[in-house]
């Protein structure tokens, strides 16, 4: 993971690393879409293509031992925090080698050993958890920070408000990052929310400052999270960051996203986070061929991950009756 530096000072080499991580996520999401259509992935998926800069920029600004909590649209966060595309793909393909042993699936990718503490599929539920992890870090004196990533839709549910209030009252080292992609599932967030900026405008109700940023620009995300993390570590309490972004696919597998105006889609596709990062790299003097090499390396890595996941064994049926309790068992009576 890229080492945190000063805001605005990502070197070309660091930015190229972040570009590569974003490219790997983009390729993984595309592979998942293809594997779903080919019948390898069951259930549903909520692809994060278009949101890569939020995950990668934020992750680069965090310490390796900081905690991350994500949502059911969380593939990008799992990969940004150390899960490999292969173990994520294996999870989605119900393989024994899946990152959650094929017990979680697309909506629950988790990589606890690198402090990515889960993807949660009930809207808003994980915001209080992140506050609790931050509380724990504060009491243990570790200067760790907890980050909750959530969608714009989560700002209208109770736990969002309960978590912001508790975090503000207890001055917890937690960062609330809203990935505002303009749509709450199929409905424009603006049409169901009393304020124009669903997360940032609510922050002031809890005595917090809400910052609105370009969630498609990895440098901008990096800078905002770096500063929020510094405030948190300095005991200055929580931050609310509203990162405006856009999804390239529909809400979930069954949604072709026909409700989005063509001009809006075109405008955001032109501001693809990979394109913006490429522009920044070019401005820093990185040659187009070098960026292309990174692109093909990402394509190659994901292609090999797909092959490896396909070749992995199916989940062992015996696993269904393990991991309920801390002793590994599922025994509920004596």
């Amino acid at each position: 993971m890229t080492t945190a530096t000063e805001p605005g000072t990502l070197s070309a080499a660091q930015l190229l690393d972040l570009y590569e991580e974003m490219a790997v996520i983009r390729r993984t999401e595309k592979a998942i879409q293809d594997l779903f259509l080919a019948g390898f992935v069951k259930g549903t998926t909520h692809l994060a293509a278009g949101h890569e800069a939020v995950a990668v920029g934020a992750s680069a600004a965090l310490r390796d031992d900081d905690y991350v909590f994500a949502t059911y649209r969380g593939h990008h966060h799992a990969i940004a925090r150390g899960a490999t595309p292969e173990e994520c793909l294996a999870e989605l393909m119900s393989r024994a080698t899946g990152v959650c042993k094929a017990k979680g699936g697309s909506m629950h990718l988790t990589k606890a050993e690198s402090h990515m503490l889960g993807s949660y599929a009930i809207i808003g539920a994980h915001l209080p958890m992140a506050a609790g992890a931050a509380w724990s870090a504060m009491l243990r004196g570790t200067e760790q920070v907890a980050v909750a990533f959530f969608g714009d839709g989560a700002t209208n549910i109770g736990p969002f408000h309960e978590a912001l209030n508790l975090a503000a009252v207890w001055k917890l080292p937690v960062i609330f990052v809203c990935e505002n992609n303009l749509y709450m599932e199929y409905t424009p967030i603006a049409s169901v929310t009393a304020v124009p900026n669903p997360a940032a405008d609510r922050a002031s109700a809890y005595g917090l400052t809400g910052e609105i940023i370009d969630g498609n620009d990895v440098q901008v995300v990096y800078d905002a999270v770096l500063q929020a993390a510094r405030r948190a570590r300095a005991g200055e309490g929580p931050s609310v960051i509203e990162a405006r972004t856009y999804r390239h696919y529909g809400h979930s597998r069954t949604d072709p996203a026909k409700y989005r105006p063509e001009e809006e889609v075109a405008e955001w596709m032109a501001r693809d986070p990979l394109t913006l990062a490429r522009d920044r790299l070019t401005a820093l003097g990185v040659a187009g061929e070098e960026i292309d090499r990174v692109d093909s390396r990402a394509r190659q890595l994901v292609s090999e991950a797909v092959d490896a996941a396909k070749a992995a064994p199916e989940a062992d049926p015996a696993e269904a009756l393990t991991d309920v309790w801390a002793d590994g068992s599922a025994t509920w009576r004596t």
Binding site: K103, A112, G118, I122, P128, A133, A163
Partner: protein, 332 residues
């Protein structure tokens, strides 16, 4: 034998709650408490008396009225190195944080393939008998019983409160700890030092030969009072205090039935969906040949809890109702 309920040195169920928590907080610095009014106010039921004074504001945290924040934060803290003890004031309010208690906490270990553990306790004042009406009197232990992944403790005596609190806080699994409102003022022998009662170990509260009464929390004293009354009529009833619902100690129940061959389950939660249905079904599956009579359940009526005492007594199992039911079962 001295009567521990009145003798010198007897302690209340209520003060045993704070005692149980304090013992664990002394031995393990990662144990922290959070909840509404639990700090300087020492709890609306006075079940956290002395904790704030002894351990201070870094270990005992007052929260806003935000049940999802309380239980959600406890979950996040439990996943990251603490052993939080969260109080939900009335068990009816578990409905406010049911998302975390039913859908997040019991599932996260499983759905991550065992990557995380959630060593937390959610304590709550459960049950009726005090005239708090429909929204502050429910016995909801059966709610938790429907969700795989939660351990469920429901002690009936002061010593068990302390001993089971030790097990609950030391457990690496999430535990819902039901403290019965109707028992807070009851007295019993104090817990000895280092008292630990494992979860999943039922207790024979009274020996008997003619039939087995399986009870939990508030229905234990009810069953004991009925057994005492019936002893005068020549009916010898054994009373099994289950102590915890998960793990469920069916071994003790089945062993009792080998001697008594008659089973009555006495539960405070409603008959519909009550935990006794599962106990009955296991006995029907595995102990059918032990039985000489049909299994009987005495549970609360399937109505919301009414306010007036005379109405509440019509709903919750009373000593009279249990006694009548036992007479019929004994003569079957």
């Amino acid at each position: 034998m001295a009567d521990v309920t009145t003798g010198n040195g007897a302690v209340t169920y209520r003060e045993s709650v704070a005692e149980g928590i304090a013992r664990e907080m002394r031995r393990d610095p990662t144990v922290v408490c959070l909840g509404e009014d639990i700090g300087a106010a020492e709890g609306v039921f006075k079940t956290t008396v002395g904790l704030f004074k002894e351990f201070g504001g870094r270990r005992v945290w007052d929260t806003p009225i935000s049940e999802q924040a309380i239980v959600g934060a406890a979950m996040g803290a439990a996943m990251t190195g603490l052993r939080p003890v969260a109080e939900i004031m009335f068990s009816d309010f578990l409905a406010c944080c049911w998302e975390h208690l039913a859908v997040e906490i019991p599932k996260v270990r499983y759905m991550t393939g065992g990557q995380v553990t959630v060593p937390l306790v959610v304590r709550t004042a459960n049950g009726g008998g005090l005239g708090f009406g429909a929204q502050h009197s429910q016995a909801v232990e059966n709610w938790a019983f429907t969700v795989p992944g939660l351990k469920i403790a429901a002690p009936s005596t002061p010593a068990d409160v302390v001993g089971m609190m030790a097990s609950a806080i030391r457990s690496d699994d999430p535990v819902v700890f039901f403290e019965h409102k109707g028992l807070f003022a009851s007295k019993g022998a104090p817990a000895p030092p280092d008292h630990v009662v494992p979860l999943g170990q039922a207790r024979i509260a009274r020996g008997g030969d003619d039939l087995t009464l399986v009870a939990l929390a508030s229905t234990v004293p009810t069953a004991l009072a009925a057994a005492e009354r019936l002893a005068g009529e020549g009916i010898s009833a054994e009373v099994v205090d289950l102590r915890s619902l998960i793990p469920l100690d069916m071994r003790t129940v089945l062993a009792s039935l080998e001697r008594t061959s008659r089973l009555m389950i006495v539960e405070e939660n409603p008959y519909q969906g009550g935990w006794g249905g599962t106990v009955a079904s296991i006995v029907a599956d595995e102990g059918f040949e032990l039985l000489d009579a049909p299994i009987r359940r005495v549970a609360s009526e399937c109505v919301p809890l009414p306010f007036a005492d005379r109405l509440e007594d019509e709903v919750i199992p009373t000593v009279d109702r249990v006694t009548d039911a036992v007479r019929r079962l004994a003569s079957y």
